[in-house]
Symmetry: C2
Subunit: 279 residues, 2 copies
């Protein structure tokens, strides 16, 4: 199976439409139809049920979509990491959710910079749920993840810190006078709908809350009295005018982890992880 075939298949499986998939791939529709047919013939497996009005995935197609994405990510990672290794400039790309764990990250970068054989660390910020992809396809070398929000499935990890959660409210909201609250009290505030985060594919689910892309946007929207959020208590360092934090007793504890691809063999990465666990 060639990666070209896999790319074609994934495009069709995602679009469920040969024409649009071909457009996305920058080729014409007939060669795409033929390539998929040939893939099916070589695998001996029907991947799509086609009628002239609709295309749907078979069960085997679902499997190939999941496995094929993983395989394409692995190929992309091989490409990127090889290119990076060839530049001669060692360096690490660390990815974290924008606005999360910023003081922990600052401490980590400071501590690592004093190491004798430290290399440059590029910090890449992204929205939630993008980190795993970046790590998997080689755009990043290491990430800060937050259990239970992120799954660390398929990566090596070390736990760095565990903390409780607080609810962030607009200053002056009635609940801000309370010493603490319960989860049920804040998930259903009638005038403060929960924000909507993007799906892995970049779209937003429907709902009443405002769409947000990162924590900075989120804090601003809370200060504007448009929404509310439950976040690890370390966000307190970002508190400013217009925001108040109240501990949530029964919210799950959040563990910040450092995560990296399991077969990494870089000395620089090992040193960074060692530094992180010693903080």
């Amino acid at each position: 199976m060639e990666t070209r075939e896999l790319r074609y298949f994934v495009a069709v499986a995602e679009e469920l439409h040969f024409g649009r998939a071909a457009q996305r791939l920058g080729i014409a529709q007939p060669p795409l139809s033929r390539a998929i047919r040939q893939l099916e013939r070589r695998l001996g497996v029907t991947l799509f049920e086609r009628s002239s009005r609709a295309v749907t995935l078979t069960d085997a197609g679902e499997v190939l979509l999941r496995e094929g994405r993983a395989a394409l990510d692995a190929v992309a990672a091989a490409d990127r990491r090889t290119r990076r290794a060839a530049t001669g400039r060692p360096g690490l790309v660390l990815v974290t959710k924008a606005g999360a764990s910023s003081e922990l990250l600052a401490k980590l970068l400071d501590a690592y910079a004093t190491e004798p054989d430290a290399v440059a660390v590029d910090v890449q910020l992204c929205g939630p749920a993008e980190q795993e992809r970046l790590l998997r396809d080689g755009r990043a070398d290491v990430a800060l993840l937050h259990r239970p929000y992120d799954s660390a499935v398929g990566f090596d990890t070390e736990d760095l810190r565990t903390e409780g959660q607080v609810v962030l409210l607009p200053a002056g909201h009635p609940l801000t006078t309370r010493p603490h609250v319960r989860l049920a009290e804040v998930t259903a505030l009638p005038d403060l709908p929960l924000p909507r985060w993007p799906d892995p594919d970049g779209g937003y689910p429907d709902g009443p809350g405002p769409p947000v892309r990162d924590n900075a946007q989120l804090l601003q929207l809370i200060a504007l009295g448009r929404t509310v959020a439950v976040l690890p208590e370390s966000v307190r360092v970002h508190l400013h005018e217009g925001l108040a934090a109240v501990p949530v007793l029964d919210a799950p504890e959040v563990t910040t982890m450092i995560a990296w691809p399991p077969h990494s063999r870089s000395r620089a990465l090992a040193a960074l992880v060692r530094t992180a666990t010693r903080l």
Copy 2:
């Protein structure tokens, strides 16, 4: 990057010889040279240092060898799992080291068979160090691994059991009268050299001990007075004429784990893991 190019690169990187690599791939040498050159040109990276007498990997080449193998395994897994999914016969392939944890495995299979929605479980036995490969490239769905001998890097795992280790000796050996021994006493027995296990590539390292492929062979060789081995104490169920076991006080504890590829989504696998953790 196409999988064909990756296969070619890995072949050359493993052989470090264009002619032999071409032979292994079933093509002529010139197209292989050209394909590698083209790969280098497209990546903008030198992968090999060539002289007319020797071919060596550059640092970037080392990276691509490691990452490329992982990517090829992922592609192979996509292929195999898709084919399997299409047969309609659900079923799991469980792989374990021949002769290891056999009673635990028997109990697991028995317990799982009584589950309401149990599927067929094929048991595949292999030598040590092959299991990870089988799991990674889709030939197996789930494995029993033994920490610290096996690394579970890149897989999801659940610990099943932890046990101490014993040394297996030929009956009548002087040490068999002892209530327990220390590791140092058995690793350097002059008349009983340690056995040699195959490398991941199937070859055997040099040394005085007999080569072995699995535990059954090993037990036989021990009974014949040719070698000695330190194994988890559950091997006692295989004791028979000619064999004796003595606890080793300072040998590391061995944990049997059940392991599976991290993005598995099969209900059957989930049920098997659940059964295993309840044993």
